[in-house]
């Protein structure tokens, strides 16, 4: 019964259904890119360069004769994996630090919270760029750079939730029977505080895709010849006057996916909200 309520609340709006479908397509494209792509994403063929969209090349070819559709499919793969891993990095670190801050309070809380404040006062894109530059360009470093900018928000959310849950009787009981702090946090606090964090992590997926695209666009993300949507936009920029689709198609894809993630994330939050309130 509860599940049916959830799904009907989740799909209450037409826009959510469309966006959910878009995301399904996006994930399918990313997972099955090797099967779906008609050409290799990195195969250069100068004889076929800068071709307009046709049946042979649905989205045309870029300045090196690479098939744009194939590159987009593989680009979806990179976007999805980077955004997933980075929000997990951000979510996990935020969870641990927020729980520590909320549970121990005092100096620990002060240090962690002020550091979170400091991270929040640096614009996310600047922070990502700075960390990306300092660490150097590799897939993992981009994931870390994108993930770090979501840590402070997650810390605040987790800390707030832990502060309210740790006053509850079952936590006191656990403390009275002498359970270790570590166990209290892992077994009692985290499982009871994690739902809003999961929602916020899901909601930050769109932002992570945008951040990765921005990094790649600026040339410090995914390095050529690997296909990334952001890189494709910046490559296509030079041909904006003659072949606008080279830059506009991948950019449009980024926007649609980010928009879908944001709308589905909002719907998820709204659909879960009454249940969370009901449970606590």
């Amino acid at each position: 019964m509860k599940d049916r309520l959830f799904w009907s609340a989740f799909f209450a709006k037409k826009a959510v259904i469309i966006c959910f479908a878009v995301l399904c397509l996006f994930v399918l494209a990313a997972v099955f890119a090797p099967v779906l792509a008609p050409y290799s994403p990195t195969a250069i063929s100068l004889a076929e360069k800068e071709m307009a969209p046709s049946l042979k090349h649905l989205f045309g070819t870029d300045s090196l004769g690479r098939d744009v559709l194939s590159r987009m499919l593989y680009g979806a793969r990179i976007s999805l994996s980077i955004s997933l891993v980075s929000v997990l990095i951000g979510g996990f670190s935020g969870m641990i630090l927020g729980t520590l801050a909320g549970y121990f309070g005092g100096v620990v809380d002060l240090v962690i919270s002020r550091c979170a404040d400091a991270l929040i006062s640096i614009p996310p894109i600047v922070l990502t760029i700075a960390i990306g530059t300092a660490l150097g360009q590799s897939m993992l470093n981009i994931m870390i750079a994108v993930g770090i900018s979501s840590i402070p928000g997650n810390i605040r959310m987790m800390r707030g939730k832990v502060l309210s849950v740790k006053e509850r009787d079952f936590v006191t009981a656990a403390r009275v029977i002498g359970e270790e702090n570590r166990w209290i946090m892992l077994r009692h606090l985290i499982p009871n505080c994690i739902s809003p964090l999961i929602i916020s992590v899901a909601m930050s997926l769109g932002g992570a895709i945008m951040a990765e695209a921005a990094l790649s666009f600026l040339g410090i993300g995914i390095q050529p010849p690997n296909p990334a949507w952001g890189t494709m936009v910046s490559d296509g920029m030079r041909f904006l006057e003659t072949k606008p689709y080279l830059a506009l198609i991948p950019g449009f894809a980024i926007m649609v996916v980010v928009l879908s993630f944001n709308i589905v994330g909002d719907a998820l939050r709204d659909a879960l909200d009454p249940r969370i309130r009901g449970n606590s």
């Binding site: 002020r114 404040d117 640096i122 990306g132 945008m210 006057e241 830059a247 950019g251 926007m255 928009l259």
Partner: protein, 319 residues
């Protein structure tokens, strides 16, 4: 109120201090030796390398390095650029006013447009205008600024040829051209803030419309507009203040991208080039300056909040 302000100022100081620590730590997490990157091929000269390391304080412990760096920073010495080998301060000072001018007009644009759209959406709740504005706000938040920039350049500059493609003209040289060159970058920088501002204004107006005193005003027969502008707006705009504070962060973040695309010689462009050259001192200085602006504006917003809403200063002063 005094106690509250002092507490907030102290907090801002601590946070600023930590920002400098984070920004200095970038040198530490960077693989490789900063002195080697600074010298480039000259690093083979061991004597020179040792001297440079000593000059850059790299031979001292991290905390000492940071304190020395911070002391220099406060005095206005931001170190030397790894790539250009000139003081970072000079590079930044040449470009500071461009970015701030752009940021200022973008902020004005987002406040005016955001609040007007928010009011329109709230007063036409669930109507055509509300839906259109909602779509616009969603796109504004989700669209990557580089893509919107390219789309606008394509439509307005290449297709209709009513605006220049890119570039920057100093206002002193030709005011008209300067404005024409600023329209697109300002709008694109402001877009995400316009979107969040619109959403917040709409949401808080709808909140306030449910309050008892609005019902009272309505039942005593006040005109709709009088209620909206005299009773609702005053209270509804308080949460919008917070969004305004956050908008400043996103505006300056956006400047990095927009200046690169529109080829505007501001701080953002300097930073993008610094990224490609791995010129960390420029990035450090940028982070500290931008964060200073952001922390100061958050501080002002909080103090303003306390002034306009007595409930807040009482609650926070007691904590």
């Amino acid at each position: 109120m005094g106690k509250y302000i002092i507490k907030r100022v102290a907090q801002a100081f601590v946070v600023m201090f930590l920002v400098t620590l984070i920004s200095y730590a970038l040198i530490q997490i960077m693989p490789g030796d900063a002195a080697v990157i600074y010298l480039g091929s000259d690093a083979a000269n061991e004597e020179l390398l040792a001297r440079t390391r000593a000059e850059m304080n790299l031979d001292k412990p991290f905390v000492v390095q940071w304190v020395l760096w911070l002391a220099n920073f406060v005095r206005g010495d931001f170190g030397k650029s790894f790539h250009f080998h000139v003081p970072v301060r000079d590079l930044i000072m040449e470009r500071l006013d461009i970015t701030f001018t752009l940021g200022f007009f973008a902020l004005m644009l987002s406040v005016v447009v955001g609040i007007i759209l928010g009011i329109t959406a709230a007063t036409h709740r669930n109507g055509l205008w509300d839906n259109l504005i909602n779509v616009f706000a969603n796109v504004g938040i989700s669209a990557p600024s580089f893509w919107i920039s390219l789309l606008c350049i394509y439509i307005f500059a290449l297709h209709f040829r009513i605006l220049p493609v890119q570039g920057y003209v100093p206002p002193k040289k030709d005011l008209g051209e300067a404005v024409r060159h600023m329209i697109l970058p300002c709008f694109i920088m402001a877009l995400p803030s316009i979107a969040t501002m619109t959403r917040q204004t709409r949401a808080s107006i709808l909140d306030v419309l449910n309050e008892d005193y609005v019902r009272t005003a309505r039942s005593k027969g006040l005109k709709k507009n009088v209620i909206l502008y005299k009773h609702v707006l005053k209270n509804a705009l308080i949460p919008v203040l917070t969004v305004l504070g956050m908008s400043i962060a996103s505006l300056f973040g956006g400047s990095v991208m927009v200046e690169q695309i529109f080829n505007i010689p501001g701080m953002g462009q300097l930073v993008t080039n610094a990224v490609l050259n791995r010129d960390i001192p420029i990035i450090q200085a940028f982070i500290v300056i931008i964060s200073l602006v952001i922390i100061l504006s958050a501080l002002l917003v909080d103090i303003a909040y306390g002034i306009v809403d007595p409930r807040i200063r009482i609650a926070k002063g007691e904590n």
